[in-house]
């Protein structure tokens, strides 16, 4: 689960990760009031969307407006907020439809001496959390990783005792940070790692992380992703979820306990198990087709869930055929067969339906489908299924 920058900053405040003063605003009037409350001669107004690349992003409705802007008066703040709120921001990460902006964040300005990059992630290879710091702040970190990997410093840490002071000393030495800034770096990095562990993050990215002219270290941005599996122990964080940021079909699927990712092909897929679902997409492509989605109904799927899965697939206007591929383990072929029959009664299949069943209760499942009188194209194995479904959209 992801959250907005302003929500991340609220949490940073609680965990003493240094930030600047800032206020969230939902209307131009609130933005103006926020500017006055900050009390400075300069502030930064930032559109709140989960996607990155806001500074270079533009609004569909107001193309001249960027997602991040410097403002020098309450009036300017209100004007920028008016351009942002209620409109859609397009960045390199949002896709052409953009993301709707429902609030803006106003933050104090500061005198920047250096821009750095910092992120805490889980390193799967080392099986430990990893703090990455780079001297190249404010830019695309993937580019840094590819072109100048030596500029990314790495420190693994044990979540039980967090990042150690010596590790920060190592980082400061390599980054040429000394004096009061080094002391502030110790606070910053160790608090950030503490935040990552205590809140079960899967990523906490600060870009840019700045050192100010008065040698403070401050998070100017905050992109946080939480481990969905750990949300049960963070009820307060669960409430920060913004469903407006999610793809509607994916949201609907997740509400039914289905794992769904929308793609841009025309063959809908309904599969049990993530690996088999990925492999099913692969084999469709291998035989010249294009999958419309990834959909894993999971092991314990019931008839209602599978029927909902069909509804979600059929709600995509691009879908011209559906491939059902089930290898029953925990999931039984009879459950899937019943769901196909129910779904056809309820939603009706106007597109060809290719079904491949194998595994637990396969014979009973196949028999149910045969006796249902539905126009189902049955397939014997994976290749047969893929060829048949690809042929059915080619017609």
């Amino acid at each position: 689960m992801k959250i907005h920058e302003y929500q991340a900053k609220e949490l940073f405040r609680v965990f003493q990760v240094p930030i600047l003063q800032g206020y969230v605003a939902k209307t131009p009037e609130e933005a103006q009031a926020a500017f006055d409350q900050l009390g400075g001669s300069l502030a930064v107004i930032k559109a709140q969307v989960h996607a990155g690349g806001r500074g270079k992003g533009a609004f569909i409705e107001v193309p001249a407006q960027r997602g991040v802007q410097l403002v020098r008066s309450g009036k300017e703040a209100a004007e920028a907020a008016k351009n942002m709120i209620g409109n859609r921001l397009v960045t390199i990460q949002t896709g052409p439809a953009g993301s709707p902006v429902h609030q803006v964040f106003l933050e104090q300005g500061c005198q920047i001496a250096r821009e750095l990059y910092a992120a805490v992630v889980l390193d799967r290879a080392a099986m430990k959390p990893l703090l990455m710091v780079s001297s190249e702040g404010g830019v695309d970190i993937e580019k840094v990783a590819e072109e100048t990997p030596e500029k990314i410093l790495r420190e693994h840490f044990d979540p039980a005792h967090g990042l150690m002071p010596f590790q920060v000393r190592k980082l400061c030495k390599k980054l040429n940070i000394s004096g009061p800034a080094a002391k502030n770096a110790d606070i910053f990095f160790r608090k950030l790692c503490d935040f990552f562990v205590k809140l079960d993050c899967s990523m906490a990215e600060i870009n840019p992380l700045v050192i100010t002219k008065d040698e403070k270290m401050i998070a100017l941005d905050g992109k946080i992703t939480f481990d969905d599996n750990a949300l049960y122990r963070h009820a307060d964080i669960k409430e920060l979820r913004d469903v407006a940021e999610e793809e509607p079909a994916e949201l609907r699927a997740s509400n039914s306990g289905l794992s769904f990712v929308k793609l841009d092909g025309n063959i809908g897929c309904l599969v049990n198990g993530a690996g088999l679902a990925m492999a099913t997409m692969d084999i469709i492509k291998y035989h010249g087709g294009a999958p419309a989605n990834f959909l894993d109904v999971g092991g314990g799927a019931n008839t209602q869930q599978v029927t909902e899965a069909f509804r979600i697939i059929l709600s995509d206007a691009n879908v011209e055929a559906i491939l059902v591929n089930i290898f029953g383990g925990i999931a039984r072929c009879t459950t899937i067969a019943q769901a196909i029959i129910d779904a056809s009664k309820e939603v009706g299949f106007k597109v060809p339906l290719v079904v491949r069943l194998e595994g637990t209760e396969v014979e009973e499942g196949k028999k149910m489908l045969r006796e249902s009188g539905l126009a189902i194209i049955s397939a014997d194995d994976l290749t047969d299924a893929a060829k048949k479904v690809v042929a059915s959209v080619g017609k």
Partner: protein, 292 residues
Amino acid sequence: MSILVNKNTRVICQGITGKSGAFHTKGCKEYGTKMVGGVTPGKSGETVEGLPVFDTVEEAVLQTGANATMIFVPPPFTADAILEAVDAGIEVICAITEGVPVLDMVHVYAAVKRSKSVLIGPNCPGVITPGECKIGIMPGYIHQPGKVGIMSRSGTLTYEAVWQTSNLKLGQSSCIGLGGDPIVGTSYIEMFERFEKDPQTEVILMIGEIGGDAEEKAAEYVKAHVTKPVAAFIAGRTAPPGKRMGHAGAIITGGKGTAAEKVKALEAAGIVVAPSPADMGAAVAEALNRKK
């Protein structure tokens, strides 16, 4: 011979009084697994499928001589259940549970590596030695005793591979579902080590997926240490970057961990890579014929 489990393995189920635990205890017992009991705190004295239930794993081990466990407890309690099994000296721990917080697994992984226990999972179908011992949720009847050692990060895709190798009359020595989470107890490399030493295993099939670099590391290991023929398949060739495909593990970012990179590394190590998931059995047969 086989790896990890065989007809003498004595198995308990942690979470045996739950719906899944009871259902799969029955399934394993019917397959012929030597199920000897179960554990649910506070339920000692009860029986499930005719098996005694204990409050603690320690007690279950003392009373039944269990040396393997399958874990079905809910995600918030899985780390505790695994560590309890480690503490009781259980040799093979299969954690079937899906949805364990990843930071829990950081602690658990470190503890397991300091012990003599082997952890398979979490978020996995389990382990089976066909005809001898099934620990987990896989449909038993698709398996056949034979010569292919199979390991995978995905459940249903493993069934697909098993089915194909059974249809080709190759059969399986043991099948290991390593689990789809970012941190799991056992790596491909540790299983290659065991399959290499197992006389029954004549060929090894590794089923990988996009994300991470476990498959690349396994390829290096195979090149240096494995004399038996190896086949592989990588799921997710068509997955878009940055999206999570069900398994938390299957995320690719910034061109790292792509299927193309993995296939290249595998082929460079002399591994036969199946171009489509329908060809996993055929790739195994080809690897056998090539006999490096």
